[in-house]
Amino acid sequence: MAEFTGNNLTCIRGERVVFAKLTFAIGEGEVLYLRGPNGSGKSTLLRLMAGLLRPVGGQILWNGESTLENAKTYRDLLHYIGHQDAIKTVLTVEENLTFWAEMSGVDPAKRSVGEALENFSLSHLASLPARFLSSGQRKRLNLARICASPAPLWLLDEPANSLDKASVGVLRSAITAHQEKGGLVAVATHEELSPESNVLNISEFTNNMKAPKENVA
């Protein structure tokens, strides 16, 4: 039974409080949507969840254990999709994907690079250098990474940006399949990616301009 929670998280960036006393919980097979206007801290929260940033206050727990103290085992469990697509333009599509699958350290038998390319309809581009990809294709290649090697927790930052309708559908079904396997997803997006959803509205935890609400104090 996997559970991913954050307690009383406070994050300060450049002497500005991004959010304070933020609490979230994601259970097995659940998707958490992060909502909020631009600049409200969705990406920051995802980087915090991934362990790239450290919270000033509060902790992030995986099955009740601090992710910072068990960073090595925790990093085994997650896939992170950021704004940048981490694609080397001189490598081919397949080389890019295979490299990240190898870096995950997952047993080769459990990797599915070919299948991931197939799912995101990139198979016919497999041997093309990545510099010829359009921005939507680059995004798809980046997303294929999360399917190429298994990990229970997906942290997705605007995964549907610059995707066409068909690809959003592929992403949606990938998330559904992941949920069915008991996977956890935290996603910052403006698209509806799965029917039932838990929503975390970050602007409730930011105290710029608005008076703090009761649950924040």
Binding site: A50, I87, K88, V90, E102, M103, G105
Partner: protein, 225 residues
């Protein structure tokens, strides 16, 4: 352990593949090395005696500058395209990945310098007795330069005018390598044993091998925040 090794080699492979496909980068370092050395006879005059006297120093200083020239891209591209975030998030220790990148960097820039150096020694009229020691000293010294350089390359991420900053940060740290590298060759040229200097160079290599990946990894984590 097996997983570590697999990840280690696949990162080295990727870096070498990138360097080959960006072939110009490695070539430029070698060309720069050659050009700097060729400038000296034009500047100090072509008397063979003077060139023989300064040959070891010129080759070492040129190697230092070329190593530095290639250094600022080491983590910069990964930082810009988001690969650095993902490298930090892999389950393997970042120190190990830094070491893999350093080895690949040395193979694609340090090694070509060593290979071309006898030719430059010939151009500078170096006595043949110095060639072997020059190669040995460069073989021990250039990996040290790559290792020390990673610290600078990691620290400058996100800075403006990073190339200049990098030289200010790491050139002073190259001084011990330069001193012992040159004096090893000079000793061989006057028929003195150069083993002590080579041993010191080996010591410097081992020390930076043990320390630099940790320092660079810490700087990289800082850069990703």
């Amino acid at each position: 352990m097996n997983v570590f090794w697999k990840v280690f080699t696949s990162l080295i492979q990727r870096e070498i593949r990138l360097a080959i496909r960006h072939g110009a980068d490695s070539m430029m370092v070698v060309m720069f090395f050659v050009l700097v050395v060729v400038l000296f006879p034009l500047g100090v005059g072509p008397e063979p005696g003077i060139l023989t006297r300064i040959s070891a120093g010129v080759i070492w200083v040129a190697a230092l500058l070329s190593a530095m020239l290639s250094m600022d891209r080491l983590f910069q591209t990964d930082f810009e395209d988001g690969s650095l975030d993902l490298l930090i998030l892999t389950p393997q220790p970042l120190e190990l990945l830094v070491l893999a990148k350093t080895i690949a960097h040395w193979l694609t820039t340090g090694l070509p310098l060593i290979i071309i150096s006898p030719l430059l020694a010939l151009l500078l009229n170096m006595e043949t007795s110095g060639y072997g020691v020059l190669l040995a000293a460069l073989a021990l010294g250039t990996p040290t330069l790559s290792l020390i350089g990673t610290i600078g390359a990691a620290l400058i991420l996100g800075a403006r005018r990073s190339g200049f900053l990098l030289s200010l940060l790491i050139l002073p740290l190259f001084i011990p390598t330069l001193i012992f590298g040159v004096s090893a060759v000079d000793a061989a040229l006057i028929d003195l044993p150069s083993k002590p200097q080579l041993l010191v160079l080996g010591g410097l290599l081992l020390a930076s091998f043990a320390l630099c990946p940790w320092a660079s990894a810490a700087a990289l984590r800082q850069a990703a925040e």
